[in-house]
Each structure stands twice: as C-alpha cells, then as structure tokens.
C-alpha cells in the first residue's frame, strides 16, 4: 500500500522496511489532507503510523499561497489593507488596524484618543470572534456540535456591528491612515451594547458545556503539551504560548493604540496542552469584553474619528466634488504624489494567534519596497509534527484545531 503513496527512496519507506525486517511489525502510512474535512484549512501531513499511534509526520504547506508580499510591492499603501484582511480572515480588523498603525508609525501620524479607543473596541471584537471560532470548532472536533451552533449566532451579531462600521462582514477593509473612514453610527453603538449584554450569558453557558465536561477533559488534558522553552524556541506567541505559562503579550509589552489605558489581565496556562489553550482563549474572551466596556466608559466626548492629516487621509467625497483643495488632495493621494519617508519599520500587534508583525521597507515611492508579514501561524505551525509525535490520530486533529492554524495566514 505504502508504495502507492510514496516513492521507494522516501525515508518513511526505508523505516517501514527496516521495521518489517526487524520484528515483522508493519507500519503504515496515512495521508492526512490537504482536503481532509477535519483539518479546517488545507495542509497536508504524511503520517507514519504504528496502529493508531503517530510515529512521525511530514507537513506540506503552500496550498493556498497567494503571494501577498509580491502583490504588496505592486500596490499603493492604501490598497494593501484588502490583502491584510485575507491573511487571518477570522480576525481581519486586527490585521487592518495593524497595517494602518505601521503606516502611522512610518508617517509620524498622531491618532486622536477617541479613534484609538474605537480601534481598541473593534480589535477586541475581532479577538472575540477569532477565539470563538477556534474554541467552538475544537468542540466540534471532540464531538460537541452544540457549542458551535450556539455561539456562532453571536459571530453573526459581531458581523452586524462590523457592517454598521464599514459595510462588510468578513473581509472588512476597515479604517484609514489616522483613524476611520467614517464615524461609527449610533446604531453600531446600540448593537454593541446589545452584544455586550447578551454574549456573556451565552459564553458562560458555552464554558459550562465544556470546562467540566468529562469527555472533553479526557480528550484534551495532556494532549499535545509543549514546554515553555520548546514553545519559545519554535517562536510561539499569542494564546498558544501563554498556555505554556509565559505571559508575553504585545498589548502589554509594547502597548499600541492606547492599550496602556486599560486594565486587563494576561491569562496564562500551566502545561501548554490542548485544554490549557482552550482555557486561555476562553479567559481572553472575558478580558476582551472587559476592555471593550472600559473603552466605552472612557470614550472621550465629541465625534473625532480621524487625525487631521490631509496629506494622507482621503477627503470626503462631497468635498472632492465641490472643493478645490479637497480635489487636489484626493488627486495627490490617489496618484501617489504625497511624500513618503525612506525608512524601515517593524510594527507588531497582538493578533488572534500571536505577534503579527509588519516589516516595511520604503524607498520613497507610492508602493512599499518590501513588505514582510510576520505571520504567527506560519512560525508556530512548524512545531506541529513534534507535538503530534506519539499521539493518537484522533488527538492530532484536536491539537491542530486548538493551535488555530489559519491557512490564509500560514501560506500568505
């Protein structure tokens, strides 16, 4: 059977042969992916199996490589946000805001407090939806479909808030240099209030379904554990690292967008196993909710939603039609006539899965000279073969979904 899958010179073929000669135990090869329904994304793993135990794994990625970095070199700065949307599509607003903040750092734009708070709200909403998908899908993979159906309704509610803010549901393309493209409508705030009232009840119930559930605990405790040292060596960041007990969070280490104004805890786990990753994400959702409430409370008066930077901020359309100055600015921005400093910038934000970094090299033209995304998924997914070694096949699926590997971010 294995000859069909692998060429005879493959190292697994050799291992199988040796093992067969040694004690007559026939190891087998299993191809997991790239279209396996349980992998939530397209990655291939060729597994060397002894019965149901995984001895070794060989991952292949790149099935959804879309050349973001090459496209970015050919697009003006403001046309790169749609690319960042599609990178981690479970939490696109974080990516959008991260990209705008990189540009603001490059251009030296000071964002007004109110716009910063609005950004914090939308980023925390995105974090909630990201963790919500990850944890509910982990539930599906352990056999509990109810949780998914239950909390997915609230993802729709968040989508409705996004729609009020920017008009799109999933790939939001939200914001501008210096703030937002328009002020949030009263309806957006009303929907946010409703969400803040209803969601905690549902999330509490979701937690109750899982946290003390015998089956869930049996499936996840001590499954796919990784030590803190190993996790740091593999470049883990975000909830997966925090589950191992390291409290590194970009929001605390290098506060951006006024995160220093808010009081929140960085939840950490202990053993770095699947259950800890689940619990850390759960706890982070509560922290995110608390940050959103604080931001709403502290929200400065007024309706300032963007910085006064006419060189970079597109003027309102009606002004462009009736006002000479606005027309000139509009023309200059669209045609790339505004000066851009020559610099190298690295800006990290805490994405849904960890430190999402933008390394931008400019040469003074309207497009980046080089834009590199530090994608957390890409970096920590390399630990996956090691994490599933010795585990059962069914555990491999659970570990993968608890790592929350997003294919779009993995392959860029």
């Amino acid at each position: 059977m294995s000859e069909l899958l692998l060429p005879p010179e493959h190292r697994y073929a050799k291992i199988i042969k040796e093992q067969l000669n040694e004690d007559g135990n026939e190891l087998s090869i299993l191809n997991l992916g790239p279209t396996h329904p349980a992998t939530h994304g397209i990655f291939q793993n060729i597994l060397l199996m002894d019965g149901e135990r995984i001895l070794d794994a060989e991952p292949t990625i790149g099935y959804i490589h879309r050349a973001f970095e090459k496209i970015a070199e050919n697009r003006p700065f403001y046309q790169i946000t749609p690319l960042t949307d599609r990178m981690n599509y479970c939490s696109s607003p974080i990516n959008n805001m991260g990209w705008w903040m990189t540009l603001e750092k490059l251009l030296g734009v000071e964002v007004p407090k109110r716009a910063q708070y609005l950004r914090v709200i939308v980023m925390e909403l995105a974090r909630i939806t990201d963790h919500l998908i990850c944890n509910s899908i982990l539930g599906v993979d352990t056999g509990a479909y109810t949780g998914f159906l239950y909390v997915f309704q609230f993802r729709e509610k968040v989508y409705e808030i996004y729609e009020e803010i920017c008009g799109a549901r999933l790939t939001t393309n939200m914001g501008r240099i210096g703030g937002f493209e328009r002020d949030w409508s009263p309806e957006a705030f009303r929907k946010l209030d409703v969400f803040l009232e209803e969601f905690p009840v549902a999330w509490k119930e979701f937690e109750n379904l899982f946290e003390r559930n015998r089956i869930f605990i049996d499936r996840t405790v001590n499954v796919g554990a990784i030590s803190a040292e190993k996790a740091m060596a593999y470049g883990f960041t975000g909830p997966n690292l925090r589950a191992t007990g390291v409290d590194y969070d970009v929001r605390v280490a290098q506060p951006y967008s006024s995160y220093e104004d808010f009081d929140f805890k960085v939840p950490v786990g202990k053993s770095g196993d699947t259950y800890d990753r689940f619990c850390v994400r759960n706890a982070e959702v509560w922290e995110s909710l608390s940050i959103i409430r604080q931001a709403l409370d502290k929200m400065p008066e007024g309706n300032e939603y963007h910085a006064e930077v006419p060189d970079y901020y597109l003027p309102p359309k009606e002004d462009v039609y009736h006002n000479m100055e606005s027309l000139i600015y509009h023309f200059k921005i669209v045609m790339g006539e505004v000066p851009v400093p020559v610099a190298e910038i690295y800006h990290p934000v805490e994405g849904g899965n960890g430190e999402l970094g933008f390394y931008l090299v400019t040469d003074g033209s309207r497009t980046p000279y080089r834009l590199h995304f530090r994608r957390p998924c890409f970096i920590y997914y390399q630990a996956y073969p090691e994490m599933i070694k010795g585990a059962l096949l069914s555990d491999a699926i659970v570990i993968l979904s608890s790592l929350n590997v997003i294919a779009g971010e993995l392959d860029a």
Binding site: I61, G62, H65, A67, E69, K70, I71, E73, N74, K105, K230, M232, A233, Y234, G235, Y248, A253, Q254, A343, E344, I345, Y346, P348, E355, G357, Y359, V361, Y369, R370, H372, R374, F378, I379, Y380, Y381, Q382, A383, D411, A412
Partner: protein, 173 residues
C-alpha cells in the same frame, strides 16, 4: 535598568570588532549590519550572553536590492527580541547577488527553519547547513524565485487580459 543601545554596541564591538558595524537607531528599533560570514556566531552570542539575552527570534526575511553592487544585492534581516528587558534589535547581513549564500541559524533557533525555507523559496538564498532546504510555499517544479525584483507578479497564463494594458512581459513559471 533597561538595556541601552550603547551597551549592546560596546559588547558586540568588543567581541566581534569590525564584523559588526553601521549601528543606528532606526525609528524605534536599534539596528546594525553584520558581516554575513559571522552571522551564526553573532546571533548565538546575542542569544546566550547573560547581559544581552536576545532569546527570541521574531522574524527572518530577505530583501532584494538589484541596484546595489553585486556583493550587496541581497539582505537577510533578522529581528530579535529580549523579553526580559523588552528590547528589540534588527540585524542586517548583506550577501552576494550572483551566488547568494549564508550560514543557517536553524541550529540556534528552531523557529528559523521554515523562515529560511521561505526565504530560499522567495529569493533563492542558499542557507548552508540547513537540514531540509527546499521550497515550502511554491511548487517544487517552479524554477523562478518570485520575490526577486526581476520576476513579474502576474501569472503568464491568463488569456482574458490584454498584455499591452497590464505591462506583462514574460511568462513566470
């Protein structure tokens, strides 16, 4: 007591002398260039020195500068982070454009394994000593290194676009 730029600079200059140069604070990150031959030694030193403790490799990527002189056409950029002092540094190593080659650091940082493979895939930089240097994102059959500036972005196989209007010249892949 925060880790000062000057302290890092003095320490590196004392150990590696001429191999580390061009120190500057670029925006909010302290950055410098290194001699590409010494990359593994310098990064290992930065990681293990009890004062510097840059124990986390944040990022590794390549940049192509086709307009530079031939011995400086590619840059490998390392971002390292010291979580204890919350200090980031950026290290640049310039390498030859005709035969891009640099030593691997995958024995220092496990996480650099795939990042080096990605850089090889995009730029064709040969990481000497890498355990498994092959393409990671693109197909194995591909012959071009797509992120080099001379290769076009677009797919050559598209028939519904008129090439004259889109500046497409040669087939890529």
């Amino acid at each position: 007591m925060a880790l000062e730029n000057t302290a890092i600079q003095e320490k590196l200059a004392a150990t590696f002398g001429e191999d580390v140069f061009n120190f500057q604070e670029e925006r909010d990150i302290f950055s410098f260039e290194i001699n590409a031959d010494k990359n593994t030694a310098i990064i290992l030193f930065l990681k293990n020195d009890p004062d510097l403790r840059f124990h986390f490799l944040t990022d590794l990527c390549g940049v192509h500068y086709p307009d530079n002189p031939v011995e400086k056409q590619f840059a490998i950029v390392y971002h390292m982070h010291n979580w204890y002092e919350n200090k980031r540094i950026r290290i640049k190593a310039f390498i030859n454009g005709e035969n891009p080659e640099i030593k691997t650091i995958s024995n220092v940082f496990l996480s650099s394994n795939w990042m080096e493979r990605e850089t090889y895939d995009f730029f064709g930089v040969n990481f000497v000593g890498h355990p498994q240097l092959k393409r990671i994102l693109n197909m194995d059959e591909m012959i071009s290194f797509p992120m080099r500036k001379e290769f076009p972005m677009e797919d050559g196989g598209r028939t519904d676009k008129d090439d004259r209007f889109f500046g497409r010249t040669v087939d890529n892949c």
